[in-house]
């Protein structure tokens, strides 16, 4: 099994996807300029929940992957990925990945329709209570236990987008095995404590549960598959966010090097710098194809999905970091300042590299998926 793809994925953007992109980009240009992101990130409200409401409910992006009969837009993960590209491009402080991707995918897989409606129509935020570094395909997390009375107790560290969430989806292990549970964040015994996060625009929080009443959404027979589907979807679509980060960094750096003059000419005319940017562009071309490949595979539930996701995540995770590092370096001193937004993208890119499996994790996953085993013993 060398992992032959059954048919070629659709790697282009449809007209509808381009329209969606345009409306998201317009909104973000208007409401989410770098200066606003920078001003917010150290304040008491690191998430822009007014922007989230417009994006999620008015533009309907929270329900893109949700069928119409469940109150969603009846689109697919391809469109969801396009939104993530734009959010990456603006380092927007909204809980889209945590709520509209990870939590929504889990709720869809559990067929928890009434909870979904709150997310798609009510602008409610949900978070999947796993460390953001959790890769797909691992052991079921046992940080939270189900007590004999059915309540949950335990502590989950580094949960993405939990801070603004009112609904927590918690993997927990009880006497009958693994389960996925819904918990109201406002319930007695729930603690959500903000961590000082490397990524200023996607905050992490530690979630503590002490005897909290919970509703089981999936039991032992389905919980692991539901969680894995959510993590795989998150990892695959994160590649689109990483593509957006890389595109912003490349475009911003190119624009700066056309303008900045030293030695009597534009810095961008020096071959040493041009070649670095040409190589970065080349990697970005690959990233777009890989990210589209993963989104399409997830959308059509292709048998090749696991390969497509690991290819996209291994490539795009590394590329976004490289693009952000080049952006800082090629801006010289200004790139090192707090005032310039380059650091927002560097921090987002570096955190994203660890999120949902590192590039190294996903390369090693390919060894099993495409039959390239390591040395024996």
């Amino acid at each position: 099994m060398s992992g032959t793809a059954s048919s070629a994925p659709d790697l282009l953007y449809s007209d509808i996807e381009e329209e969606l992109r345009a409306s998201v980009r317009d909104l973000l240009a208007d409401r989410c300029p770098p200066s606003a992101v920078l001003a917010r990130c150290e304040g008491p409200e690191p998430y822009d929940l007014a922007l989230w409401r417009t994006l999620a409910v008015e533009l309907g992006t929270a329900g893109l992957q949700v069928p119409e009969k469940l109150g969603g837009a009846g689109a697919s993960l391809r469109e969801t990925a396009v939104v993530l590209e734009e959010l990456g491009r603006s380092a927007a402080p909204v809980p889209f990945l945590g709520s509209a991707v990870l939590a929504t995918t889990a709720l869809l897989a559990c067929e928890a329709g009434e909870l979904l409606a709150g997310l798609t129509e009510g602008g409610r935020v949900a978070a999947l209570a796993v460390p953001f570094s959790t890769p797909p395909g691992g052991a079921f997390p046992d940080a939270v236990r189900v007590g004999g009375d059915g309540t949950l107790s335990g502590r989950v560290t580094s949960v993405a987008d939990a801070l603004p969430a009112s609904l927590l989806l918690v993997p927990a292990v009880g006497g009958d095995g693994p389960g996925l549970y819904a918990v109201e964040a406002s319930a007695l015994g729930v603690g959500v404590v903000r961590r000082t996060s490397l990524d200023l625009t996607r905050q992490l929080a530690d979630v503590t549960l002490q005897g909290v009443p919970a509703r089981q959404l999936a039991g032992p027979e389905r919980a692991a598959a539901v969680l894995d589907r959510a993590l795989l979807t998150g990892a695959g679509l994160l590649a689109s966010e990483q593509l957006g980060i890389a595109e912003w960094c490349l475009g911003t750096t190119v624009a700066y090097l056309k303008e900045r003059r030293q030695f009597g000419r534009a810095l961008g005319s020096f071959q040493a710098l041009k070649h670095r940017l040409a190589d970065l562009w080349l990697e970005t071309v690959g990233a777009r194809a890989a990210a589209r490949g993963a989104a399409d595979a997830l959308a059509v539930d292709s048998p090749d999905t696991a390969v497509a996701v690991s290819v996209a995540q291994a490539h795009c995770g590394a590329l976004a970091v490289r693009a952000a590092e080049e952006c800082v370096q090629l801006h010289g001193g200004i790139g090192m300042t707090w005032e310039h937004p380059a650091h927002l993208y560097l921090k987002r890119a570096k955190a994203d590299q660890i999120a949902l499996g590192t590039p190294g994790f996903h390369r090693n996953a390919l060894a099993g998926l495409v039959d390239l085993p390591g040395p024996v013993g």
């Binding site: 070629a8 190589d279 562009w281 194809a289 390919l366």
Partner: protein, 391 residues
């Protein structure tokens, strides 16, 4: 459109059964039926149809067991000479050259590069001097693949040394059987001689074999060179096509050779190969839907780097066997197969991938300037007459 093309293919197969028709006759009939390259005009081997329809023709004919024109043997004619003749040729030139070019009856080569004009091709010094109703050409060309099998060459020569270098060049079709053409094999690091040096001494070219206007050779050559870099096939590449497939097969069949360090590099190479394959597939989908992107320039650059990394990895993986080489005998192959022969050959041949058809350094300049819009390096030679340039 698709059903019309299918009907034409059926009619061709009915009138010329591939099982019983001689290969040359079948190819000639295919050309005359407009099924050679469907995007070419009617009467010149095409139907004036969208290029995307070609894949259908190839699939139908392959399914019927029809012979092809061995495109690897005539790549320069198909990929470079033909589009240039189509765009700039006279009616006489088109009807004289295109049919035998496509059927493979006449092989073409390219006389562009010179010892003193490589990446700076526009500095070329081969002279063409007007003589009655023709031209007399003197000079030296180099890196000429297929020169020893070619009937014709596309040739760039300087017709006016008194103007800046890009403006004094004219584009010709050169008869390789002219007594003033001398072809010498140029042995390369693999041991074989894929390409040649070509010495031109008093070669006579009729003015009727000029392509485009006098002094307009540089613009004409852009068509040739752009087509060289856009030579992306009409069909999807399968996963593990090309060099990665060869290396992965060695890896799977020889577990005793594996190490942890090579495993990490192999997985990175597999990943890069798959990403490049997807980028090529995306480019193909863009072209098929009529929205070509600038990604074409990227593909050759990416391909070269990958082929070099993977072929080097395989030699290392083979350990003691990697110390051997299959054969240093000097031969003059008619076709080149990057993934053919043994690992040592593949490693050495791949070194050419970042040099031939535009070096990777020049491609990066092209991407930086034409795609990213970065300014050109300051150049002192651009506006000087060619004869005053420092050499």
């Amino acid at each position: 459109m698709a059903s019309d093309i299918r009907a034409r293919v059926d009619a061709l197969l009915k009138a010329h059964d591939p099982a019983t028709t001689p290969r040359a006759d079948f190819l000639a009939a295919r050309f005359d039926a407009g099924l050679a390259w469907v995007h070419f005009p009617v009467g010149l081997g095409g139907l004036g149809a969208p290029r995307s329809q070609q894949a259908l023709v190839e699939a139908e004919l392959a399914a019927a067991g029809a012979p092809d024109n061995d495109p690897r043997r005539i790549g320069i004619g198909l990929g470079m000479a033909a589009p240039t003749i189509l765009r700039y040729g006279t009616e006489e030139q088109k009807s004289r050259f295109l049919r035998p070019l496509w059927t493979g009856e006449e092989v073409w080569c390219q006389l562009f590069s010179e010892p003193g004009a490589g990446s700076d091709l526009a500095a070329l010094g081969t002279r063409a001097v007007r003589d009655g109703d023709g031209w007399v050409v003197d000079g030296q060309k180099v890196w000429t693949s297929s020169a020893h099998t070619a009937r014709w060459a596309i040739l760039l020569a300087r017709t006016d040394p008194g103007v800046p270098k890009h403006r004094g060049i004219t584009y010709f079709v050169c008869d390789m059987t002219d007594p003033g053409v001398e072809v010498r094999p140029l042995r390369q690091i693999t041991g074989e001689a894929e390409f040649n040096e070509v010495f031109l001494t008093g070669v006579r070219i009729p003015d009727a074999h000029r392509l485009g206007g006098v002094g307009e050779g540089w613009q004409v050559a852009q068509t040739t060179l752009n087509n060289e870099r856009v030579a992306i096939g009409g069909q999807a590449t399968p996963r593990e096509g090309g060099m990665i497939g060869v290396v992965a097969e060695t890896w799977r069949s020889r577990p005793e050779l594996r190490s942890h360090e090579l495993h990490q590099r192999l997985l990175k190479g597999w990943l890069d190969a798959e990403v490049i394959r997807l980028a090529g597939e995306r480019l193909r989908q863009q072209l098929a839907s009529g929205q070509p992107g600038p990604e074409g320039a990227a593909m050759k650059l990416a391909f070269a780097r990958l082929a070099q990394e993977l072929s080097g990895l395989e030699v290392e993986l083979l350990g003691e066997e990697g110390l051997a080489y299959d054969d240093w005998t000097m031969t003059r192959p008619e076709v080149v197969d990057f993934t053919g022969r043994e690992a040592g050959y593949r490693y050495l041949r791949a070194k050419g991938n970042s040099i031939e058809g535009g070096t990777s350094e020049i491609l990066r300049n092209i991407i930086a300037e034409r795609v990213l819009g970065l300014p050109a390096e300051p150049r002192t030679d651009k506006d000087l007459p060619w004869k005053e340039l420092a050499r």
